[in-house]
């Protein structure tokens, strides 16, 4: 049996890196992150001032010219006064910082009011995502990529399937842990359309480094269009390669772990692949989704992301090409 090795090598070289986008607390585009950024700037400014002041006094104390014999009792008393004043000032400053901190927490508010709730379940090392059904519209499942409507409060419910992870998209909001046996929640509210990258922030084992998530904030119409497409079953492959790929996919162990809605594949160990071709990245932010990167991933996931929970499934290069074509077609 010919394996896919040679192809893999050429693909790896050709693969373009995954998406980057914004991932910075100093580049906020979500309401909570904007509030926190103000707090960060204010606090850092206050603390910098304190540090400079302390350093100036230290410098003076070290280098000042000493008078021969000062009135020691009087100067001791002056020093005592100064120290007491400094301690009082410290108290005032930290009281101010504490109040600023409470105020920021208050203004961020909780996700209680949100209309849309998205459940994110962390898994070693990818994100399983559920959009709940509402009324007649059914919910759906996806992975590693969230779409949210611009300017609306979105409640992210955080759960874990195994160990602790942490959901963090710094440009939109601060982080919150996903704790097994508990359920947390986090408010997102994007103020500017864009693709926001985030990354698991709690150490969760071998591939903690490659557990990224993409949040796409888009105009409500675009969001609705996307959601409608996601609700649908997988496309039936038109192209013959992709059709052969589907057959191979169903025949191989793939279907035991992955779901492709509309086909018999209904495994739950790995990400739902119903619309994998429409996602920007694969492997939790590892690679940009292209036919080449899909092939590289499927051929040898353990080299690209050592230790992850998808095994290498032996495939001939034809099978590999077909399956990749099929995956890419799942828009």
């Amino acid at each position: 049996m010919r394996t896919a090795r040679p192809l893999l090598l050429s693909v790896i070289i050709a693969v373009a890196p995954g998406c980057s986008g914004n991932q910075s607390a100093l580049n906020p585009h979500g309401a909570p992150a904007i509030h926190v950024e103000h707090l960060i700037i204010g606090t850092v400014a206050a603390c910098t001032a304190v540090w400079i002041l302390v350093m100036v006094i230290l410098g003076l104390a070290l280098l000042r010219r000493r008078r021969a014999a000062a009135d020691s009792a009087k100067s001791e008393a002056r020093l005592t006064m100064t120290v007491v004043a400094a301690v009082v000032a410290t108290g005032v400053i930290i009281a101010g910082l504490t109040i600023a901190s409470f105020y920021t927490t208050r203004s961020i508010g909780g996700p209680e009011s949100a209309a849309l709730t998205i459940t994110v379940r962390g898994q070693q090392w990818w994100w399983q995502i559920f959009y709940a059904s509402s009324g007649a519209t059914p919910g759906f499942q996806t992975a590693n990529e969230i779409h949210i409507p611009l300017g609306e409060d979105v409640n992210i419910r955080l759960e874990s399937a195994d160990v602790i992870h942490s959901f963090w998209v710094p440009s939109l909001a601060g982080k919150q842990d996903l704790v097994p046996g508990r359920s947390n929640s986090l408010l997102l509210r994007a103020e500017k359309p864009g693709v926001y990258r985030g990354q698991c922030a709690e150490f969760c084992g071998l591939q903690h480094s490659h557990m990224a998530i993409v949040v796409i904030a888009e105009a409500p119409v675009d969001y609705e269009r996307w959601a409608a497409a996601q609700r649908g079953d997988a496309m039936v492959p038109a192209d013959p390669d992709a059709a052969a790929g589907q057959a191979a996919f169903l025949a191989k162990p793939c279907a035991a772990c992955h779901t492709v809605r509309g086909t018999p594949a209904n495994g739950t160990t790995g990400p739902d692949l119903t619309h994998i071709g429409a996602r920007q990245t694969i492997g939790a932010g590892l690679l940009e989704t292209t036919r080449g990167s899909l092939a590289a991933w499927i051929a040898d996931p353990q080299t690209l992301k050592p230790g992850n929970n998808m095994p290498m499934v032996p495939l001939t290069s034809v099978e590999l090409q077909n399956i990749s074509a099929y995956m890419e077609s799942l828009k």
Binding site: W51, T80, P306
Partner: protein, 636 residues
């Protein structure tokens, strides 16, 4: 006290040389391997302890260089994820449990008895035992790492990642058991220090005349005693979960994942002050000596130490701000965490006032204190930043926090420690370290440190999480990471120079007089290095600065026996002499007890029955330890 026959010879009866000869015969450690293994001399054990801890610093530092090598470029392939996870876990565990806490306690083991003017530490055999346990714990961790079985769950080993389901193999057990070793030894030392300080101070050293370093060690020891049981319970529960299928941390069966975090941080937060407070004591000592005046605001300094200690027990939740606890409770922990800036600030201000009013001499120890001020204040202020819940949601578990804790750990503890080593090296070895090299060491470490760790703040704010073995090239982090890694080389060169200086000076440094810095505390009242019995005659203290009151002739108290190990017990508050108390002689049993305990603990990683069978040799060793040998120390 009139009887003076040979069986009860007192120091009153003898003149100086004869006294020295007799006391040496009584207190000296016999030469040879057996003597070395059975000694209970706090100075020998203290030196061993310090050396071992500093070796662990070097080893941990080498690990950090490996991490920096891997992180210098995006998607580097020097170190794979599995190794990397072991490396940062062992770097953190090693630095906290095998370097920082033990080195501070080790300094105290050496210095506290001298500073309070007594002949030996309380429970000297326990002291020997604690060193062996510590060494065994360190070897366990490092040998496991060599065998590719090093813990890989981070220095706080969060469950369930470290639990039975997700951490196969023995790595997490080794972590948990290493904790047991270091906790046992830390608790033992804490008890010794408390008793030494409370009951063995030189006559006249009332509470308000205790040197600040001794105060800081006293508060630290209480923190150890109050905080460490939490981690003992936690690590025991973890081992039970892993070994005999209990469910403490298993949410499916009524356990709770956050329970671990509460228990760990209830210990883990005080831990950082266990590291920091002794350093504060060192700073006070050095500041006083090199500004040639007592530290300003003694009472305030002592209150600051105590209130830091008390507050430290009420802050642990600030490590769990994003775990999803109720907001109201978290706000309380914001306030209490920030409040600790007040005692910290008070201390800084008092040192500044001391320098202001004093006449500074810029010797190497003092340079490290200046470096400490510059760096620690930054670290403390970033601590105040992360104490704010919303702020912390952005920087928790990022390189910002990595920067914070290296600023406080290296700036707040390692700098004072290096200063302290330069300061007390003459006392430890009888030789001076090099002043020229010392300036180079300071300069390189100061510059290297800031270049290495300051950029980490920015990386954290720009989205770089900690504990990642690599990052993708499109993330905007590679430039700063390269800068950090290159700067770490400067830092490493500084440390290397320090080691070279220490080793070289230890062999061939200029001989030190008994009080080379003109300091005023009691350890300088005896020769450098001190004789086995510390002080020929017990000093009597009349002020906070006994040596500057009376530089040539320290009043002494007499009446202790010279033919067996005996020391003076004084009252807790006023240090009024109460009794003469025997002090145990050398014994090999602490070593046997440590070996038996080690075997039991390591074996119990594999089967719970080890505890049952292992307790037999442990019990035998303990009985051998305490069984009276009919010597005069046992019987009086």
């Amino acid at each position: 006290m009139t009887r003076e026959d040979d069986s009860e010879l007192r120091d009153t009866a003898l003149e100086a040389t004869e006294l020295d000869r007799r006391l040496t015969a009584t207190w000296a450690t016999p030469p040879g391997l057996w003597g070395a293994l059975s000694t209970v001399d706090h100075k020998i054990i203290g030196r061993r302890y310090i050396t071992t801890a500093v070796v662990f610093l070097a080893l941990g530092g080498l690990l950090s260089l490996l991490m920096r090598l891997q992180l210098a470029q995006p998607e580097a392939r020097f170190i794979g994820p599995d190794r990397y996870n072991q490396i940062f876990s062992i770097h953190g565990t090693n630095m906290m449990f095998l370097f920082a806490v033990p080195v501070m306690q080790a300094m105290a083991v050496y210095l506290v008895p001298l500073m309070v003017g007594t002949r030996s530490i309380a429970f000297p055999r326990l002291n020997a035992f604690s060193y062996w346990m510590y060494l065994a714990g360190g070897l366990l961790l490092w040998i496991a790492f060599m065998l590719d079985a090093g813990p890989d769950v981070g220095w706080f080993a969060y469950v369930p990642l470290s639990g039975p389901e997700y951490a196969a193999g023995k790595r997490a057990d080794i972590w948990a058991q290493m904790i047991t070793f270091t906790e046992v030894s830390a608790l033992a030392v804490a008890v010794e220090i408390v008793v030494t300080v409370f009951k063995q101070r030189a006559p006249g050293m009332s509470l308000d005349r205790i040197p600040l370093f001794v105060w800081s060690m006293l508060v630290t020891s209480f923190l150890v005693i109050l905080a460490m049981p939490a981690i003992m319970i936690a690590s025991t529960a973890l081992i039970l979960d892993r070994l005999v299928e209990t469910h403490f941390f298993n949410p499916a069966e009524g356990g709770d994942v956050l329970l671990w975090q509460h228990l760990f941080w209830f210990f883990g937060h005080p831990e950082v002050y266990i590291i920091f407070l002794p350093a504060v004591g060192m700073v006070s000592t050095i500041v006083a000596t090199f500004t040639r005046r007592p530290v300003f605001g003694y009472l305030g300094m002592v209150m600051a130490l105590i209130s830091t200690g008390v507050l430290a027990l009420g802050l642990w939740v600030h490590h769990m701000f994003v775990a999803g606890l109720p907001r109201l409770g978290e706000s309380f922990f914001t306030a209490s965490s920030m409040a600790i800036a007040i005692p910290a600030g008070l201390q800084i201000f008092c040192w500044l006032a001391t320098i202001w009013a004093g006449r500074p001499i810029f010797k190497t120890p003092f340079l490290f204190v200046i470096g400490f001020m510059v760096i620690f204040v930054i670290g403390g202020l970033t601590g105040v930043m992360v104490a704010s819940v919303p702020f912390d949601t952005q920087v928790h578990d990022t390189y910002f926090v990595v920067a914070h804790f290296h600023y406080v750990l290296v700036g707040g503890a390692v700098f004072p420690l290096l200063g302290a080593i330069y300061y007390w090296f003459p006392k430890f070895t009888g030789r001076m370290m090099s002043e020229t090299l010392g300036r180079w060491v300071f300069g390189l470490i100061f510059a290297g440190f800031n270049l290495t760790f300051f950029p980490m703040h920015i990386l954290g704010l720009r989205g770089m999480p900690r504990r990642i073995y690599t990052y993708q090239p499109e993330m905007p982090w590679s430039g700063l990471n390269m800068l950090i890694s290159l700067s770490a080389i400067i830092l490493a060169v500084g440390f290397l120079l320090f080691f070279i200086d220490a080793i070289r000076s230890g062999r061939s440094g200029a001989p030190a007089p008994s009080n080379p810095w003109g300091a005023s505390t009691l350890e300088w009242a005896t020769s450098s290095p001190p004789p086995p019995y510390n002080f020929a005659r017990t000093p009597v203290v009349g002020s906070l600065e006994p040596l500057s009151d009376n530089p040539d002739m320290l009043p002494v108290a007499a009446g202790l026996r010279v033919d067996c190990r005996e020391l003076l017990v004084t009252s807790v508050v006023e240090a009024i002499p109460e009794a003469r108390e025997p002090s145990s002689g050398d014994s090999i049993w602490p070593l046997w007890a440590a070996l038996a305990t080690t075997a039991t603990l390591i074996w119990s990683i594999f089967t719970p029955w080890a505890v049952v069978w292992g307790s037999i040799p442990v019990a035998i060793a303990l009985i051998g330890w305490f069984w009276p040998k009919g010597t005069s120390e046992d019987d009086s």
